[in-house]
């Protein structure tokens, strides 16, 4: 193998592309987030932290931040609870069945969230399947409001991000040798003990990785929240989009975006640190 000091020509196109369209634009975004903005004059170069201050002190944005945090946490927890049994079950399948189950669990990820939200719009509406069922069984006498509220956003986001959780869980569950489970079972451990003492601790890295991944993507979602809340709930990412496409206050939008970026990067750092720690303890 040849040893080059300088990056070989082959890597230049992609590197230049990312330098021009990722690194430089991100730096520009940081710069713009300090600019002044007025509705009449538009953007004016400046260096002031007003946008960040507004974001962190204004009660409205406090509400948005708290909503985002709460919704993302619930979505993370829900996808963990729904995803864990599925991932565990998939590790017990073999051959074709496993391939089919994996395909069904991961394929939805490749279909646009717009289309999946449309499906939830139909399921959760006043005349939707769930309300039809509730009415027919006499549990309720008039349709329950399931749509255009936080519940709908949580359901939609959980479904959208579930495959990410499943991948993370599968990777760590599959790494557990079957012989350990057999040994435990031979030694007389019941299902609960096997789960509590073997599966859970050994899959902790997967749980951490999946949870942080889902959390990070949930905090930066705006399409599903917009469609399923009918615009009633603004998450942080919705504020970014509205500032860029509607009110055109780019400096403020950029500030919100940078804050979001910092949160996501912190989450990934936390994931790295946690995984190392957990793995270290059981190594």
């Amino acid at each position: 193998m040849l040893k080059y000091r300088l990056p070989p020509l082959l890597v230049w196109p992609a590197t230049a592309f990312l330098g021009a369209f990722l690194v430089y634009p991100l730096l520009l975004t940081v710069a713009i987030s300090f600019d002044e903005f007025s509705a009449l004059e538009g953007m004016k170069p400046a260096f002031q932290v007003g946008h960040y201050k507004t974001l962190l002190t204004d009660p409205y944005y406090h509400g948005v931040l708290l909503d985002t945090l709460r919704i993302s946490l619930i979505v993370t927890l829900a996808s963990l609870i729904i995803g864990y049994p599925l991932a565990l079950w998939m590790t017990r399948l073999e051959g074709v069945w496993k391939a089919i189950a994996m395909f069904c669990a991961l394929a939805p990820l490749m279909i646009s969230v717009v289309i999946r939200s449309l499906g939830w719009l139909v399921i959760l509406s006043d005349t939707g399947v769930i309300n039809q069922l509730l009415l027919a069984t006499g549990i309720v006498s008039s349709p329950v409001r399931l749509l255009y509220n936080e519940f709908a956003v949580i359901v939609g986001l959980t479904e959208a991000l579930l495959p990410f959780m499943i991948i993370s869980l599968l990777v760590s569950l599959q790494a557990i040798p079957n012989s350990i489970l057999q040994a435990a079972s031979v030694a007389g451990a019941g299902h609960w003990i096997v789960f509590r003492r073997i599966l859970l601790p050994l899959s902790l890295p997967g749980i951490a990785a999946g949870s942080l991944l889902v959390f990070a993507i949930a905090t930066s979602s705006f399409v599903t929240p917009r469609i399923l809340s009918g615009g009633h709930i603004n998450m942080v990412a919705n504020v970014v989009v509205d500032n860029f496409l509607v009110t055109l206050n780019w400096p403020f939008g950029a500030a919100v975006g940078i804050l979001l970026l910092i949160v996501v990067l912190l989450v990934f750092l936390l994931q790295h640190w946690l995984t190392e720690r957990i793995l270290g303890r059981y190594r």
Binding site: F17, C104, I111, G128
Partner: protein, 268 residues
């Protein structure tokens, strides 16, 4: 012998989770065959009226054509620069190699929304707001890491003895690459190109910032249609997209393994 414990309840919970994942897609496809005007399940009767309506709808057809061209272009560009970069990262040791590798994969970790607004700020300053080219740049940005990862996975699986054999048999380095190596990494390239196509074809986050009234991609058109109308036409167009993507995923699964590839990208 597999260990069996609580198999029944575990299977039930797993089926429920699977149902939860697939329910919205099933709903959309089922309703697209309704004969009524309403977005309601169960569909009334069976008809193809909304598919006929779709063929007569120039907006959706045009948006689909735009999305298709964009996805093809994105797939070609991302595969070209992604494959070359992956080969360089795998074959050579050079200054800044780790930093460049991290940079190549970074679009996977950063939220697409942030990439989109940063690019919007930059491109509008450079005098290139919404256009086919700006859409293409945005889509290549988010699909590039997939190509890089998948080609790298392919490279790591190559048995170096095959290339050595070619060299021993008298092939020049150039010949070894173009007549041997390229065929060995072809599955990875193919998977990368296919992923890039699909992810571009149904991208909404980046597209939303670069579409104009004359240049709209299909997911954006569907998103905007949802804002002001709700008839089953939208389920018909969505069903066509679902069918197309599932068909492509099946081809990827049969040839290079979709679930394997995807897991490789997300957990490198």
């Amino acid at each position: 012998m597999r260990v069996r414990w609580g198999s029944f309840w575990l299977a039930m919970a797993a089926f429920a989770a699977m149902g939860f994942l697939i329910a919205p897609l099933v709903m959309v496809v089922a309703i697209s065959f309704t004969s009524s005007q309403l977005l309601r399940f169960p569909p009334e009767g069976f008809s193809l009226r909304w598919y006929y309506a779709l063929i007569d709808n120039p907006q959706f057809i045009e948006a689909a054509w735009t999305s298709f061209q964009l996805a093809v272009a994105c797939s070609i560009v991302a595969t070209l620069i992604g494959t070359t970069a992956a080969i360089a990262i795998y074959r050579y040791r050079f200054f800044g190699r780790n930093a460049i590798y991290l940079l190549l994969l970074s679009p996977l970790m950063l939220p697409q929304l942030i990439l989109a607004i940063a690019l919007l700020i930059y491109l509008s300053r450079a005098g290139l707001p919404g256009s086919f080219l700006s859409l293409l740049i945005g889509h290549v940005l988010v699909t590039l890491p997939f190509v890089v990862r998948l080609v790298l996975v392919g490279l790591e699986r190559i048995d170096p003895n095959i290339e050595r054999a070619a060299a021993v048999a008298g092939a020049t380095r150039f010949e070894v690459f173009f007549r041997v190596t390229i065929w060995l990494i072809f599955p990875g390239m193919f998977a990368g190109a296919a992923f890039a196509f699909i992810m571009s074809f149904d991208n909404i986050v980046v597209s939303l910032f670069f579409t104009t009234s004359r240049m709209v991609t299909l997911p954006v058109e569907i998103y905007e249609y949802l804002e002001y109308a709700d008839d089953p036409l939208i389920t018909a167009v969505s069903s066509v997209v679902i069918l197309l993507i599932v068909a492509m995923l099946l081809v990827i699964e049969k040839t290079v393994g979709f679930t394997k590839s995807f897991t490789a990208v997300e957990h490198g």
